[in-house]
Symmetry: C2
Subunit: 348 residues, 2 copies
DNA sequence: TTGAAAGCGCTAACAC
DNA sequence: GTGTTAGCGCTTTCAA
């Protein structure tokens, strides 16, 4: 064997047919013990590694799924990935991670990757989907959604109750005496941004507090945007005593802007983030934030994917959604307010 | 076409041979304009997507490389990934990211992935390599190394001068008047840990300061380890005025331990990290750290990979190493020391 | 329980 | 410039 040995080399050495080698490797219970040992020995001897590409080509399944996320540089997704990978490994799948960068072209690219045979399915963690692809949904590859919700696309989904999560976070601030609470939102043309904003509104309404639209700052989850929006707000002269950001990254960006204007956290402004990423715990002061069980969410998403892939084979129904709880992680970035100096515009 | 159309369907619709379809798609300049248009139209009409698996299988190249990193949850690697991906995209390659978790088995797994045809090569960002695989180096797949150095493995490498980088960081602390400087090292059985420790020693020696082995704390780059080691050191009653950590994560862990003991950063203890990840800039106080041009390093590593893959084809020489500069990013976690209270053991 | 043989979809000689 | 053809390495009927 001068080169990578193939199944024929093994068959020759073992003195059996290629079919027998293939069977020995895939369904050992189907061959006689004696034959199996012969084949195993030949595999050992030749250093045979089955060409997975040939197998994938032949069976038309890659046993690979793609985890397509909003922004790969957000560490939030790393724990998701680990969960997905764990579950995938257990089910004999591989996982690739793709970076959508909120860009239709890249999303299309990953859908094509499935069509081209690179993967069997897509786990979506993006907030939208190219319109053109929605026109013939039957042409779409097997997909599941995690934590997001995509318009005009009904798919098995791993959910958390974003409305409730945001409502609780804001209620917590209200309980601490805050009345004028800024909300740095997620993208408002997508579910995640809308749902959390809805939670924010509900908390205020429930507490019979007015909603001041000037305190709602449209964002995109990024650190930089948190900084910019908070700068702008401060320059507008608005008064507030707390900020609820729809991501830890935005919270931290906002903190930078507040400090730059000489404000202290939490004594001048309280701050709540969302996601409970590592950054929240090492930030100073440690950031109060909303925790989502990322690892478990990842595992559940992959489990849903496996079910979907199976139900595509037999004609069974699509798997049903899974819901995970969120919870507030209380740290030190919130202090109680008694309606002091920074509340000049006051309460209704 | 009831199913995914294949190249034969297109050929039939266009009234040409499959070879012509293949050529039109791969080397359009080789077919007549008129034919090309016919084929393009047929492709459009049928909705043909070439089966990449079949192509990979046939040509025995996947045009994919795997970026294998020490720990995928370290955001440091995300910028590396982006650099690799940019360069890869330009060269028509795809990139997969793998998580070695410092584990021989997982590394072997990724080497096998190449053998199985999933990828053409491996970009290694790990500090060691399974011993068994080193015995027949000619069986190893095309590989390049970035930022690391693996014993008994000579490969094209993207380097930074870790000794100099660490020396400069420590010299900076010395210049600020610090005399008793703790070093939280990387893994000491690997190049990265050793080189930076060597830089630490050189800086002290150069300044004619003694090296106190008690201030050298073996680490593994992780946040948690930084915390634990610093806790232990403080309980031992050692005195020091500054800490140089071999990663931002350890620096931040150490900061947690220092604060827990009532020490302030930087007024009580100055702190220098390594890597200049996002976390360094959002940490409070903003962390002085050593910057490495991650994006460029990623690009260079992929460029090296492409060269390696080509030289494997023709018999040309392996590409030569590339060296990148590092530099200190000065923020606010270091203040000058005049040899005050926390320096009881004094200077030589 | 095993073997023979057909082919998955594509590419690349080679012939025309 | 284009068509014919022979596989790449594997799995999977089907027949023995």
């Amino acid at each position: 064997m001068s080169h990578q040995p193939n199944i024929r080399d093994v068959a020759k050495v073992a003195g059996v047919s290629t079919a027998t080698v293939s069977r020995t490797l895939k369904r050992p219970e189907k061959v006689r013990e004696e034959t199996r040992l012969k084949v195993m020995k030949a595999v050992e001897e030749t250093g045979f590694v089955p060409n997975d590409l040939a197998r994938m080509f032949r069976t038309r399944e890659s046993r690979t799924v793609i985890l397509l996320v909003r922004d790969i540089s957000n560490p939030f997704y790393l724990d998701i990935y680990k969960g997905v990978e764990e579950e995938a490994f257990a089910a004999g799948y591989k996982v690739l991670m793709g970076d959508a960068r909120d860009d239709d072209e890249r999303i299309t690219h990953y859908v094509d990757a499935v069509r081209e045979g690179h993967a069997d399915g897509l786990i979506l963690m993006v907030g939208h989907f190219p319109k053109e692809m929605l026109v013939c949904p039957e042409k779409l590859p097997p997909m599941v959604v995690a934590l997001e919700q995509i318009e005009h696309l009904e798919l098995p989904t791993v959910r958390v109750d974003n409305v409730a999560a945001a409502r609780e976070a804001v209620s917590y601030l209200i309980d601490q005496g805050h009345r004028r609470i800024v909300h740095l939102t997620g993208p408002l043309d997508e579910y995640l941004g809308q749902a959390r904003l809805e939670g924010y509104r509900q908390a205020l309404t429930q507490a019979k507090l007015p909603v001041d639209e000037a305190l709602i700052l449209p964002g995109d989850f990024s650190l930089n945007c948190g900084y910019q929006q908070m700068m702008k707000l401060q320059e507008s002269g608005a008064s507030f005593s707390a900020v609820f950001a729809s991501s830890d990254q935005m919270a931290i960006g906002a903190a930078g802007a507040l400090r730059e204007k000489g404000l202290n956290i939490p004594s001048d402004v309280s701050l709540v983030g969302f996601d409970d990423t590592l950054i929240a715990s090492v930030f100073y002061p440690p950031l109060t934030t909303v925790f989502q069980p990322r690892r478990e969410i990842g595992r559940a998403a992959m489990a849903l994917m496996v079910e979907t892939l199976q139900s595509a084979g037999d004609g069974s129904d699509l798997p049903s959604d899974r819901l995970f709880p969120t919870q507030i992680t209380v740290r030190s970035s919130v202090v109680s307010s008694n309606g002091g100096t920074r509340m000049s515009l006051g309460v209704n």
